[in-house]
Amino acid sequence: MEIDRQKIRMYSLLGSHRTFGQVALELPKINEKVVVMVADQMSPAGLEYFRDQQPDKFINIGIAEQNLIGVAAGLAKEGMTPFVVAQASFATGRCFDQIKINMAYMHLGVKVVGLSAGLSIGQYGATHMSVEDVALMRCLPDIVILSPADCTETAKALMATAEDPRPTYIRLSGWMNCPIVYKKDYDYQIGKAITFKEGNDIAIIATGPMVYNSIKAAEMLEEEGLSVKVVDMHTIKPLDTMAIDDCLSAKLVVTAEEHSVIGGLGSAVAEYLAPKAIKPPHLIIGTNDRYVNAGEYSYLQEQFGLTPIQLKNQILTNLK
């Protein structure tokens, strides 16, 4: 599928959820075995078009996420490629056992699309904030974890996933009118991080919405004379360790994610770095270990120190 400038902007305007709804229309062209299943999330995911165009490939299980995974696993066992859609918090937390047994242990290629991952619907409170999902999924062997940086990367990740046989969790974050990281089409491969920009002093390895914020933070740091590398680690598992190795000459390695500092990208990078005798200090930026009150997305990012200026200040403090 060609992704031109107007499509990139349209995806950004729609936000990652409804971008899924648009890209879903293309998925059966990539893999005729694709079916799309929802836990009553048809409208939030913009799947009305898919339902109308592909009624035989669309199943609404209702608000029953655990059953959703079970039925999807059965279909995968019969050779289908199910994309299942639910709120990230419920798709991972509530369905952990189903994902462990029916997807990871049985090696069934179900694709779990988690909506509103991170803080994006934090106005509903901690029940809907999904900042533990990567930690949960990461401890399961063989699950691929994707965390797109923007809506174009959401489209790229979904299309790549349709051709990939592995069980996968796709973490969709952000809201409508998402910032654009990639302004033109580019090469995307699951498991291969993208160096967005090179730099020598600081290396920021970011994922999801934090890629854009890290790019902005890097611009501010460069105004202060620092050279900053930014890596888009869109695949959290399997981790692109070569991309991390390429960051080790920096004075400070930073990981940035809209997820708990426990168990996410920061932990994955720290686990990889732990046995190395010589390595730069590693600053892990994410949501620290606490619950906050319900609030709008930008407010919550600020509460957790995830805005570009806050990233910049934390980096400067740790560089000294």
């Binding site: 400038r5 107007q6 902007r9 305007l13």
Partner: protein, 80 residues
């Protein structure tokens, strides 16, 4: 091409309507002006006028006439 002609052209092409249908045309009056079509329309207008619209303006853009008011905020002069 004047700005008004350009605006009309984008509206007609994006929503697959004729110029005669534009006056009074509102969001969801035609099949293609649904939520996704709205974003396509906005993306096409942004491209045509080289602007980037704010989220509140995208949501407020509820009719052909309202669209002209909103674009005027981005220094699009429809008298030219």
């Amino acid at each position: 091409m004047t700005n008004l002609e350009k605006y009309n052209q984008v509206m007609c092409d994006s929503l697959q309507v004729s110029a005669e249908q534009l006056p009074g045309l509102k969001y969801q009056d035609v099949e293609l002006w649904d939520s996704v079509g709205h974003m396509t329309l906005v993306a096409n207008l942004e491209d045509a006028f080289d602007i980037l619209m704010e989220t509140d303006d995208i949501i407020d853009f509820s009719s052909y006439e309202k669209g002209k008011e909103i674009l005027a905020k981005y220094d699009i002069d429809f008298s030219k």
